[in-house]
Structure formats: structure tokens, C-alpha cells
């Protein structure tokens, strides 16, 4: 082999004497994103993991419509437009023509995108009899938990470029769910070919979509390579090669960004962010991620069934200090359940200010002038919304001691922790919620409704019929302004009842070299490289 190497290097040296190829082209047209993990599969319909969404949704696929977070409205994508009929129980989508699927080594499309592809992509998870339903696990967690699987009764093809969605009832979160990163459009023609070849699993492993980048190869634990989709229906992406280098180690990711081996990295370490910022070649981008961390009380457990006790505890904790300590300032103080990115957000404070004197007063009023003893459950893991629940619990513990409440910090292994939470064994818990779509309903129904209390996802075990009624009223309303008012009323109600104390909306970070721009980190959903480009004059 060594001989071969010598021959190889010899040939290369000879080759070097010929016309010199500049390698700057390779760097100029390419972008390296050091992702934090392997995607489980190349189809976001099948998973909810953020890593997979980052790797696939915005790059390989398109959706019927997109959500524009800046203007807080839905914008056309594969659907040119849409209308709702029958009091919001039927939606008609007019589809775009001349949308090309990826042309790859394993698939040559003979036709452009049409209604059959929409039917195929939705029927795959709606219809249990669909040949692709059980393929690659056959679990569609997002559509199940968002209720979309039950909401859509059937999808009907009107003509080649018109599709009707029939809904079980009017639901204003429908469009938001269709615009999520999970509702991607696959190629029906590719699906048929794979069935004929007896190899349906390939659909999610060698993916074909209409997105700005086409899949080239994936080596687990090392690299994913995408190339620009030459016949993309929107503006061509500027970078020709997009490479994901899988780098699970956060320190190494940051060092590789410093040396220029990575152009963009997700989740830089918060405590070293300031150091990163000083380096002139690195820029840190952030967006308020649609999440909220909160402290939920088990309202089935005395004394937390008493609303006055809950209010007292809400007054007792110093949330601005928590933001400073736990998030190093990289989070916003929550003004309610809804984060700033939601269109239903209002800057009005809908939480309790820090006021230990008031807290003591309320405790006395509730019959606990000398306080009591309670447990705070703290998550054993880091989450985007809460990087250090243990430390947060300690801060709250000392705040509570000020008002005479003695708190014990409890934690278990993460799976056990969640199981026991579902059983309702806790007094109070520090946990949070990350929204899947732009609809404000997603912040209340999965976390505080009676249905959520039954399934155990309601960490406050709080079931209030009045609250559920407000939720249903808000979801049935289709006028945006009206809905905003209703959600503000819901926020007020949550504040008044205080089943939980919203603490922070944390920021999601991404860092990139200063010669890269246009990498989008939308608040809902995965990273998007469609507009990414390298600034041409940058020194290499």
C-alpha cells in the first residue's frame, strides 16, 4: 500500500505541474454546518426531533404554505393560495405549477408537482390502509399530538392543481399545522416506483423532494452532503454544496468554528458566548425560540389547591435574578405563557412581580403564617428553555426561605422523572414547553387543558372547565384580532389562577463565521440555508 501511496503522490505532484486548479472555488460555493447529531431519518413526518428537522425540512422539502415569522402571517409556498369554505370546515388549496422534484441518481422525475403528490404526502399518515403508512416505523408523532390526524377527515383531489381538505370541525390552528416543518410534500411518482421495486423503505433514506437542496449522501456520524437543486422553483440557493458535519461535542464544535472548519454551528455554549462575540470573525445570531420555562404546582395536592398559596409563591420568587444567573441574560423574562414570537403576544405583564412582603401576607391569609415545607422537582437534563434546572431550583429554594417556605429539591433520572410527573407525584416542578407551530393554541392546550391533565402532560394537573371553554372559543374563532383578544383573556385567566409561574423565554443561538450571511433560524422550526451565501470578498 505504501508503494501505491508513493505512486499516488508522484502522480499528484506531476498533476500539480499542469494548469493549477484553484481550490477557492470549492470553499466559495460551499457551506459547512456542524450539526449536533445524526438525523434519525430523512423525512420529518416520522419524527419530532429538532436535529432531524434542522437537517431535512427546509433543505430537502417544501410545504403547501410557509409561516413568515417577521410578518406573522402565512405565505404561499407550493400552494399559490387557499380559501376556507363551510365555516372553516373545508380548505381549498390551489397548487403551483412547474415545480420540479429533485433529479437524482436514484430517481428521474417524469412530471412536475401536482395534486397527486399532496394526496400522497398527506394520505401517508392519515390513512392507515395507505401502502406507505407502516413504512419506517409508521409513527407520525407530530400529527398525532397536534391532533391533525383526527382533524383532517379526508383530502380530495378536485383537479390536477386543486386540493380540498375536509376537516372534522372548524379549527383555526389548521393552517399553522400545515405550515410546520413536519407537513412536507413527498413525490408520489417516486413512491410508486419504490413500491414497484419492492423497496419502499428507501423513500425516507434516499429522499426526493422539491426543496432548495437535493440529497447526495449520508455517512452516519460523519457527514451529510446536499447539492443545490438546479431546477428549484424559487430563487436558486447561492451555495452549491451544503455539508453537515456531525459534531456532537459542543466544545469541539466551537473550536471548529474558530478554526474555520465549520461555517455555522448550532447551540454554541452559552457561557462562552461572550468570548465568541469578541472574536471579530464570528457572529452570533439568536432568535427567541417559541418556548417557555415554568414552575408548575400540582394543583391536586394541598396546599397548592389553594389559589392564594399559588399566588403567594409566585410573588415569592425573584425571576429577574433567575434570568441573570441561569441564562446569563440569554433569555427574556416571560410576561405570560406566550413568547414574544407569537402573534397573540402582548407586552403587558401577565405575571406576578417579585414581592416577598406581599407573599408573606398572602401566605398568612391562606392560613400558613409560618410557611410550610414543599418539594421542587428539577429536571435532570438541559433543555433549550432551561439550561440548568437544578441551579434554578436552588435559587427558588433560597427565595422561598425568605418567606418561610422550606423547599426540598428532588430529581430523578429523566425517564423516571417524566413518568412520575405523569403520575402526579410531585408538589411542584421546574419544566417547560417548546411549541411546534406558530399557533398560540399550542401553548395552552397541550400544557394546561383538562385533556392534558388526563394524559399527564399538564404538569399542574390543573383541570378548569372555564379555561377549556375559553380555549375552545379561541380555537373556533377565525378572525385574527378577535383571537388575539381571546388569548389575552386566557393569559389573564392563567395569571389569575396561577397553576404555574412562567419564568423565561430563552433564546436559541447559532454562531457563524462573519463571511457567511443569510442563514435563517426561524423561531418555529428548523434552520434554513436557502438564502445562505458567502460574502465574496471575504479573505479565505
Amino acid at each position: 500500500m505504501f508503494k501505491q501511496l508513493m505512486v499516488a503522490s508522484g502522480t499528484l505532484l506531476l498533476a500539480a505541474c499542469g494548469p493549477v486548479q484553484t481550490d477557492s472555488e470549492v470553499y466559495q460555493d460551499g457551506l459547512v454546518y456542524c450539526s449536533e447529531g445524526n438525523p434519525e431519518i430523512f423525512n420529518p413526518q416520522l419524527v419530532t426531533s429538532g436535529t432531524t428537522v434542522d437537517a431535512t425540512s427546509a433543505q430537502l422539502y417544501d410545504r403547501l404554505l410557509d409561516y413568515d415569522a417577521k410578518q406573522q402571517q402565512f405565505v404561499p409556498a407550493l400552494a399559490r393560495g387557499w380559501q376556507s369554505f363551510d365555516d372553516g370546515r373545508r380548505y381549498r388549496f390551489n397548487l403551483r405549477k412547474d415545480v420540479n422534484f429533485h433529479h437524482t441518481d436514484w430517481f428521474t422525475p417524469t412530471r412536475t408537482f401536482n395534486a397527486d403528490d399532496v394526496l400522497f404526502s398527506f394520505q401517508r399518515w392519515l390513512n392507515e390502509q395507505h401502502p406507505y403508512y407502516p413504512v419506517n416505523g409508521g409513527r407520525y408523532p407530530f400529527f398525532r399530538s397536534s391532533g391533525l390526524i383526527r382533524l383532517i377527515e379526508h383530502v380530495e383531489k378536485i383537479d390536477d392543481y386543486t386540493v380540498d381538505f375536509h376537516l372534522a370541525q372548524s379549527d383555526s390552528s389548521f393552517l399553522a399545522n400545515v405550515a410546520t416543518d413536519f407537513a412536507v410534500i413527498l413525490s408520489e411518482e417516486y413512491g410508486q416506483q419504490l413500491i414497484a421495486a419492492g423497496n419502499p423503505e428507501q423513500i425516507d433514506r434516499l429522499p426526493v423532494g422539491t426543496g432548495p437542496f437535493a440529497f447526495e449522501l449520508f455517512r452516519k456520524d460523519f457527514v451529510i452532503r446536499y447539492s443545490a437543486h438546479k431546477d428549484y422553483w424559487r430563487e436558486q440557493p447561492e451555495i452549491k454544496t451544503l455539508v453537515y458535519v456531525i459534531t456532537p461535542n459542543a466544545n469541539k464544535r466551537m473550536l471548529k468554528l474558530l478554526t474555520g472548519e465549520c461555517d455555522v454551528i448550532p447551540y454554541p455554549l452559552v457561557n462562552e458566548l461572550s468570548q465568541l462575540d469578541q472574536d471579530a470573525q464570528i457572529e452570533v445570531g439568536s432568535s427567541v425560540s417559541p418556548n417557555v420555562s415554568f414552575w408548575a404546582f400540582n394543583t391536586k395536592q394541598p396546599p397548592f389547591d389553594n389559589v392564594i398559596v399559588r399566588r403567594a409563591l409566585a410573588h415569592a420568587i425573584n425571576r429577574p435574578a433567575i434570568i441573570q444567573t441561569i441564562y446569563s441574560g440569554n433569555a427574556r423574562l416571560a410576561t405570560g405563557m406566550l413568547p414574544e414570537t407569537s402573534w397573540a403576544y402582548s407586552p403587558v405583564q401577565q405575571t406576578y412581580p417579585y414581592d416577598p412582603a406581599k407573599a408573606r401576607e398572602l401566605l398568612a391569609e391562606a392560613g400558613f403564617p409560618n410557611g410550610f415545607s414543599m418539594d421542587i422537582w428539577a429536571m435532570p437534563v438541559q433543555r433549550a428553555y432551561n439550561p440548568n434546572a437544578q441551579r434554578m431550583a436552588e435559587l427558588i429554594q433560597s427565595d422561598l426561605a425568605q418567606v418561610g417556605v422550606q423547599a426540598n429539591i428532588v430529581s430523578y433520572e429523566w425517564n423516571t422523572f417524566r413518568q412520575r410527573l405523569v403520575e402526579g407525584e410531585h408538589d411542584s416542578v421546574l419544566i417547560g414547553w417548546v411549541a411546534d407551530n406558530a399557533d398560540p393554541d399550542n401553548f395552552f392546550r397541550p400544557t394546561l387543558s383538562c385533556a392534558a391533565a388526563r394524559s399527564g402532560n399538564n404538569r399542574a394537573q390543573w383541570c378548569n372547565p372555564e379555561f377549556d371553554r375559553l380555549l375552545i372559543e379561541a380555537i373556533a374563532e377565525s378572525d385574527l384580532d378577535q383571537r388575539k383578544h381571546l388569548y389575552q383573556a386566557i393569559e389573564d385567566f392563567v395569571m389569575q389562577q396561577a397553576p404555574l409561574v412562567p419564568i423565561a423565554n430563552s433564546l436559541r443561538f447559532q454562531a457563524h463565521r462573519d463571511d457567511v450571511e443569510g442563514v435563517e433560524l426561524p423561531p418555529y422550526g428548523g434552520i434554513n440555508f436557502r438564502y445562505a451565501r458567502r460574502i465574496k470578498d471575504a479573505p479565505l
Binding site: A8, E216, F222, V245, L255
Partner: protein, 342 residues
């Protein structure tokens, strides 16, 4: 020679058989279902599961199961990875290529530097250079590989910016993985940036190669020095001196060929050390070889992959040791006499 070779080969076969027994038993010792551990097909896929259940002899006793295990092993049917559901056997070739490339280059570097330095130290025995060489090699030998690797990354990649931190090549060069050895793959590829890619690959290679070579290098220096000193004590060297031969003739004609004997004997052992270190080095430098593959499979509890990784690494070490032993015996007949006389 024939008798010696046969003995070594029989020993190898017995060792491989014991290895296969161990790996076969692992399937039953791992948590979970033995059929799944062996094939990567879980019971949630009843059709395929039933098929492999029969094919792997699970309707019969353990002996049939072992027989089927060996048969599938020899046929290259090593099951599917539990994580990717891709055939394990097909994944091995590029990984093996990457590991062998790194290992061979490190071994080569160790020999090219270690042997002359050892000779030099021996010639300068007790002189200042001898002390410096021996002192440095002892210190280098005492630094664990994982620590050395981190130090080198910090120094050469982060501080000085002379080399990248990890990987085989800048992934923007679309080099198709064929053999797994990056230099050969670049040579075989039809990339228009071959030269640039080649330099980029070398730039990625040199730090891990030096890190990996460090341990065998320092060992070789010490072994070589001792071997040369031993030979220099021999009567035939004194006789050569008495005949008035020049120092260089004595060194190159009489000392070195004889001093190489213990060094060659040590090469097999050094290779085993190298293989242990290569696992660590590959993980740190994110090198797409067998070692990092094995470590990741352990994290992921991917039993078919763990087995395959163990089997390949162990067999590789055994085969190289056999090869070195045979080479040693063929090159130095006195060794055969020693063994035959036992």
C-alpha cells in the same frame, strides 16, 4: 520452518475459534433478545423476524445456533445495524481502509524515526545526546494518547492554525468513499480539485499520525538502543574491530542486521498497542475508522455493530501478529531453532 508455521497457524485458528465462541455468547449475554442482537432484526417486524429466527437455527439447540452463526459469519451476513438498519458487513470496508491508512502511516513514521534515533542513542551511549533522546522518549511515552491528542489539537489547530481540528478532509471536496483510505480515494476520484484535496487530506492527516506514532516511536527508540548495545557487546563485533573494519562497516554490516532481530519481534506487540491507541485517536479526531465506529456503537447499544467491530479489530491484531511472527522466524533462523528446541 514448516513445522513452526503450522504450529502458529493452528494456534491462530484455535484463538479465532475462541474469539468466535466469545462473540457468539455475547449475543446471549447482552440485554434483550438473542436473535435481535445477532441479526439486528427486531420482533416488531414479525415476518423478517420469523425468517431469521429459522435461518439462525433458533428452532433447534444451541449447537445448531452456533453452526448457523459461523455459517452466516463466513458468508458475510453479519446482520443489520440496530440503529441504521443497514447491513453491517458492507460498512466495514471503508472503515477498515481508514483505520489501516492511519495505522500504517503511524507505524511507518515510528520506524523511520525510531530506528535511527535508537541507533544514534546507542552510539552516543551515556553521552549528552543519549540522555536527551532517552529523556524525551521517556516523557513522551508517559503522556497518555488522549491527553497528547488534545494538547496537539490545542497547539497546532487552535493556537497556531496549522492544521484542522478533526476529520479526514474538508467535506466540501466531494471525494467518494471507496476504499476508506482518504489518499487512495482522492487518487481514485474524478474530482477536478485532486491536488488541492490531496494537500488538504495531508493537512488533516499529520497530527493524528504523529499522535498515534508517539507510543510505538518511543518504544522503538528504547528497544533499538538496547538491541544495538547488546550486539556491540558481542565477540564478533570485537573481532570485526580487531580486523580493523571501519565504524560504519561494523554498524551497517554487522550490528544493525543483528540488532533488528528483537525489534522485528516487538513489532507485533507494538501493533497491538497501536490498535488500542487508534481507537482513542479516531474518536478524538473524528476519523471514520473502525475504532470510532466501535465506540459509537457501544454508546448506542448497537449489538451487531459491537460484535463486528470486536471481531474485526481482534482478528486484525491476531493476523498481524501471526504475520510478524512468521516473518521473524523466516528471517532469523536462530529463533526457529530456539523454538524447536523447546
Amino acid at each position: 520452518m514448516l513445522r513452526y508455521s503450522l504450529r502458529r497457524i493452528v494456534l491462530l485458528i484455535v484463538t479465532l475459534w475462541l474469539l468466535s465462541l466469545l462473540i457468539f455468547s455475547l449475543n446471549y449475554w447482552y440485554p434483550g433478545n438473542a436473535v435481535t442482537n445477532m441479526t439486528g432484526i427486531s420482533a416488531s417486524n414479525p415476518l423478517a423476524y420469523q425468517e431469521v429466527y429459522v435461518a439462525r437455527g433458533f428452532e433447534d439447540g444451541i449447537v445448531t445456533q452456533y453452526g448457523e452463526f459461523i455459517r452466516h459469519l463466513l458468508q458475510g451476513d453479519w446482520g443489520l445495524s440496530l440503529v441504521t438498519q443497514q447491513p453491517v458487513f458492507a460498512e466495514i470496508k471503508p472503515l477498515l481502509g481508514a483505520t489501516i491508512e492511519l495505522g500504517l502511516l503511524a507505524m511507518f513514521l515510528a520506524m523511520v524515526l525510531g530506528i535511527p534515533l535508537g541507533v544514534y542513542a546507542a552510539v552516543q551511549q551515556r553521552g549528552p545526546m543519549d540522555r536527551i533522546v532517552m529523556g524525551v522518549s521517556l516523557s513522551a511515552y508517559s503522556i497518555p494518547v488522549f491527553w497528547l491528542a488534545q494538547l496537539f489539537i490545542l497547539l497546532f489547530a487552535v493556537k497556531l492554525g496549522w492544521s484542522p481540528i478533526s476529520g479526514q478532509i474538508n467535506p466540501l471536496y466531494a471525494i467518494e468513499t471507496q476504499t476508506g483510505s482518504i489518499l487512495i480515494d482522492i487518487w481514485l476520484s474524478d474530482s477536478q480539485f485532486k491536488t488541492a484535496a490531496f494537500y488538504d487530506a495531508l493537512n488533516h492527516l499529520w497530527v493524528p499520525v504523529i499522535v498515534l506514532a508517539m507510543m510505538p516511536l518511543t518504544m522503538l527508540i528504547r528497544i533499538m538502543r538496547n538491541a544495538v548495545l547488546d550486539v556491540l557487546q558481542q565477540n564478533y563485533i570485537k573481532a570485526a574491530r580487531a580486523r580493523g573494519l571501519s565504524d560504519s562497516t561494523i554498524m551497517f554490516r554487522h550490528t544493525l542486521p543483528n540488532a533488528m532481530q528483537p525489534v522485528v519481534r516487538q513489532l507485533g506487540l507494538q501493533f497491538s498497542v497501536l490498535m488500542t491507541n487508534i481507537v482513542i485517536t479516531e474518536v478524538i479526531f473524528n476519523w471514520p475508522g473502525l475504532g470510532s465506529w466501535l465506540v459509537k456503537s457501544i454508546y448506542e447499544r448497537d449489538f451487531p455493530v459491537i460484535q463486528a467491530g470486536l471481531l474485526i479489530l481482534a482478528s486484525l491484531i491476531l493476523l498481524v501478529n501471526l504475520f510478524v511472527d512468521l516473518l521473524h522466524a523466516w528471517r532469523y533462523p536462530q529463533v526457529r531453532k530456539e523454538i524447536d528446541a523447546e
